[in-house]
């Protein structure tokens, strides 16, 4: 009995060299989710900085693509917190995704800001960053959250899972 299922001449599924576990073949249809990696981190004050964007947070996840031509949908859902600062009413930070396996390129930058009438107030919320990565490789790909102040004009502290509360997640989906 063959270990390969073909449709229209294309290999859709095989049994991974006879191991018995099924996996997508070389003819997997476009848009198929090949694999998913996911992590949840509820460590408080997971990463903090008082430096300008981008600074590596240490919150990261890797995936090894099965196909060179596939793409990785990268989704960070993070709990962000901005505290301190001497500038009245301005609280502003910046967050993004760093492609650690691709020359540390930073993508999907987003701003998180708010106004507070005073100098002592803190801001907290969640932020979602998404990026579709054409990795063009079957080597392990690592994605890391980077964060920091909007610019040196601001003196706030930017924190991941800050203010005594927070849970952040990373989801990586390899898509054919």
């Amino acid at each position: 009995m063959s270990g390969i299922l073909k449709v229209g001449g294309s290999e859709l599924i095989n049994d991974n060299g006879g191991s018995g576990s099924l996996q997508w073949g070389t003819g997997v249809p476009e848009g198929t989710v090949i694999q998913v990696e996911h992590t949840v981190n509820g460590t408080l004050d997971l990463g903090s900085t008082t430096s300008d964007y981008p600074v590596a947070s240490g919150f990261k996840l890797s995936i090894t693509p099965k196909y060179q031509t596939s793409r990785i949908l990268v989704i960070f859902n993070v709990d962000v917190f901005i505290s301190g600062g001497t500038l009245e009413s301005n609280k502003i930070g910046k967050f993004g995704i760093r492609l650690n396996s691709q020359s540390n390129q930073t993508v999907a930058d987003k701003r998180f800001s708010g106004r507070y009438l005073g100098t002592g107030g803190d801001l907290g919320s969640e932020l979602t960053l998404m990026y579709l990565d054409d990795h063009d490789s079957t080597n392990s790909q690592e994605y890391e959250l980077v964060l920091g102040r909007w610019s040196s004009a601001y003196d706030n502290t930017i924190t991941l899972n800050g203010g005594g509360f927070g849970k952040s997640t990373i989801t990586l989906m390899e898509i054919a």
């Binding site: 004050d45 903090s48 390129q105 930073t106």
Partner: protein, 123 residues
């Protein structure tokens, strides 16, 4: 507990990244990095040399204890839940209207009850 970020802020230490919550000098030296520059694509260059940190673990522990003591000393203020302003104004109006704007009036009695329930430590 006052967090380390706040302590560093109060100590005037800037341009750093902290990855976690250290509870010892060893952990602090592992988790803390001083930003000493930028590379050609703008990414922060970090130093893991404690001589670059601009602060020591002992200084952090000392300042943290000081800030915690200050915070704790004001706990009575946070515990005091006064009637909302509308209710206070109503009590004041009634006291004026009834000629009891003194220590026998509703306003004084209500506020005094809250203060007595959560006295200032030195009182």
């Amino acid at each position: 507990m006052i967090n380390i970020s706040r302590v560093l802020y109060e100590l005037g230490v800037d341009e750093w990244v902290l990855r976690g919550t250290p509870t010892s000098e060893v952990e602090f030296n592992e988790m803390f990095r001083k930003i000493i520059g930028r590379d050609d694509i703008g990414t922060a260059i970090e130093s893991d040399n404690p001589n670059d940190f601009g602060v020591t673990w002992d200084q952090i522990v000392t300042k943290q204890a000081e800030l915690q003591a200050e915070y704790d000393s004001k706990q009575y203020q946070r515990d005091r839940k006064y009637p909302d302003l509308g209710e206070q104004f109503d009590l004041l109006f009634k006291d004026i209207n009834e000629g009891t704007l003194d220590k026998t009036g509703g306003f004084y009695t209500a506020i005094k009850a809250v203060k007595d329930a959560h006295p200032k430590p030195s009182e």
